[in-house]
């Protein structure tokens, strides 16, 4: 369990994290989503005490991270794939990290095996690819067999095999009862990995809910139907708050009603339906809607298009 209370981080005049509160629960994967510069990494750094909050607090299992007797046993963190001395071998890096907690060679070799680094463990980290760096970062996070894992963009730079491996690893860690907190800017990755989402925009929490709820709440969820009596149906369904658009002679898109309501209305009016499809918004759409006003570095694409016309 990770608990943030009124957490604020300012760098000079810039507020990176603006008064956020959350509880990250064990046994599920909690995704941390937000545009670049939203404050995700800063929040994660504050959890492990690398950055000091300007005010507020964040605790792991009831205590500040630094106050635990065995921090690496409590939390495994991958905050930066390249948080490793480039002149040291992967094996020696893990050995030195583990040594602080009396974690020995056996466990080091175990995590090297788990992360598939056997063939490069003796090589200096400076020559590692981004993907190997990520695997080493994950190996370091797993060293203490921690009850809580914090992974900042763990699939960054991984090949499809690696992405699948991280996804399965993260799911199985949560199934074992651990707290897993995972950030990503890949919405599609979140959709298949996370159970719960915290969406951050400009340092504030925009949404904190189960993934299914975030998808359902996304406005623009619409129902598509095909019917030979489309015009009659449109009349039957017309009501305040309902938007009906006709995409072809026999098809309609209805916003503001559920598929069930549309079906029932059609039955009451005695009209024939050939197709009735509840269109769920993709996580991507939901995310775009949530963050459209909270993007730190917005592209000027619309303005540019205007000019080029």
């Amino acid at each position: 369990m990770i608990t943030a209370q009124a957490l604020i981080k300012r760098y000079g005049a810039k507020t990176a994290v603006n008064n956020i509160n959350f509880d990250i629960k064990p046994g599920i994967v909690t995704g941390f989503l937000g545009p670049n510069g939203a404050g995700k990494s800063t929040t994660m750094r504050m959890i492990v005490g690398l950055d000091r909050p300007t005010s507020g607090s964040v605790t792991v299992n009831g205590r500040a991270y630094a106050d635990h007797a065995a921090p690496l046993r409590e939390v495994g963190a991958l905050l930066d794939a390249k948080a490793v001395h480039t002149g040291r071998s992967a094996y020696n890096h893990l050995l030195a990290m583990g040594a602080t907690h009396g974690i020995g060679k056996a466990r080091v070799n175990e995590v090297i095996g788990m992360t598939g680094l056997d063939s490069v463990a003796g090589k200096r980290v400076g020559g590692f690819s981004l993907g190997m760096g990520q695997r080493l970062g994950i190996a370091a996070a797993l060293l203490g067999d921690p009850a809580t894992l914090i992974l900042d963009e763990p699939v960054n730079g991984l090949d499809p095999d690696g992405v699948l491996w991280v996804r399965n690893l993260v799911r199985s860690l949560a199934t074992e009862g651990r707290t897993v907190f995972l950030s990503s800017h890949l919405m599609s990755e979140m959709a298949v990995t996370a159970d719960h989402l915290i969406v951050l925009g400009r340092g504030s929490i925009i949404a904190d809910a189960p993934i299914a709820e975030i998808l359902a709440a996304a406005t623009g969820t619409s129902v598509k139907l095909r019917s030979p009596q489309a015009p009659a149906l449109a009349t039957a369904l017309a009501a305040p708050g309902v938007t009906i658009t006709s995409t072809a002679a026999d098809s309609l898109t209805i916003a503001g009603l559920t598929a069930a309501e549309v079906g029932e209305a059609a039955a009451r009016a005695g009209l024939v339906l050939h197709e009735l499809t509840p269109g769920s918004a993709s996580l991507e759409q939901a995310y775009m809607q949530l963050t459209e006003n909270d993007v730190e570095y917005q592209t000027l694409a619309p303005a540019l298009q205007e000019v080029s016309r």
């Binding site: 064990p26 005490g49 007797a69 065995a70 040291r88 020696n92 050995l95």
Partner: protein, 267 residues
């Protein structure tokens, strides 16, 4: 909700373990091995050159006692060694900042000060041992050369204590550099500052003193790190306790400053 993982009391953080970790870190970098190897090799070479020169009447009259000549020859290489150790001391911490390793270190040791203390202890002991190897090896080289040239220095208590004090000076310079590196967090800046204080400051102060005739500047010169350090084992204007205290302060002040900043800043 069940948590299957119970942290065992066997694997908690402790200073002894952090020291072990820092020892693994120090010995697993090539820069450490190179630095220490260079100190030993240069020291042996200097001992040979200096003992040959000082015991050969062709180079000038032999004025010092054979024992003092032995001390000079055994420790001569360390005046170069302190420069190497100053670079190494800065790199031990600045290398962690430049590569990002510092974030891993301070995630494992979130209270931070034990990590700095462990670095200081490991660096001090390793440097002292390397200094001993260099000076004792140099003493053997010098003894062979001096005996061959007819001078027969006795291995007195003075010789032994000078060698031990020279190694202490070397180790304290390493701590001085570690403190500078911790404060500045940059390899280039840290090395420039450490070498500047070691090499440049004595010259600058000397020129300043001779130009302005300021007595305070003249009085200050013996307390500069390099001068106080060398007078620890070669003798000079200062009493041993004065030069030792000066060198200890030169190491302690940057380390304390580094500790304060380390605790206060974001890692």
């Amino acid at each position: 909700m069940t948590t299957t993982i119970a942290p065992t009391t066997l694997s908690r953080l402790s200073l002894g373990r952090v020291i072990h970790s820092e020892w693994i870190k120090l010995r697993s970098l090539r820069s450490t091995i190179w630095s220490y190897a260079i100190i030993v090799l240069v020291s042996l070479g200097m001992a040979f050159v200096l003992s040959s020169a000082l015991s050969n009447p062709d180079f000038g009259p032999i004025i010092d006692s054979p024992e003092h000549t032995l001390i000079q020859a055994s420790t001569f290489g360390l005046s170069f060694g302190v420069l190497v150790v100053a670079v190494l001391g800065v790199l031990v911490i600045s290398g962690e900042y430049s590569t990002g390793m510092a974030r891993s270190t301070f995630t494992a040791v979130p209270k931070r000060l034990p990590a700095l203390a462990a670095k200081a202890i490991v660096l001090f002991v390793a440097t002292y041992v390397v200094g001993l190897v260099a000076t004792l090896g140099s003493a053997v080289v010098a003894l062979v050369v001096l005996n061959g040239n007819g001078l027969q220095p006795a291995i007195t208590g003075d010789v032994i204590s000078s060698i031990l004090l020279a190694c202490l000076y070397l180790s304290l310079v390493a701590l001085f550099a570690l403190g500078i590196g911790t404060m500045l967090r940059s390899s280039a800046g840290g090395i420039a500052a450490a070498l500047g204080l070691l090499l440049l400051l004595p010259t600058v102060l000397m020129v300043f003193a001779s130009v302005t005739q300021a007595q305070w500047a003249v009085d200050l010169i013996p307390y500069l790190l390099t001068n106080a350090g060398e007078s620890m084992f070669l003798g000079g204007e200062l009493e041993l306790w004065q030069s030792l205290l000066a060198v200890v302060l030169w190491a302690a002040v940057p380390l304390a400053g580094g500790a304060v900043l380390l605790k206060r800043r974001d890692a």
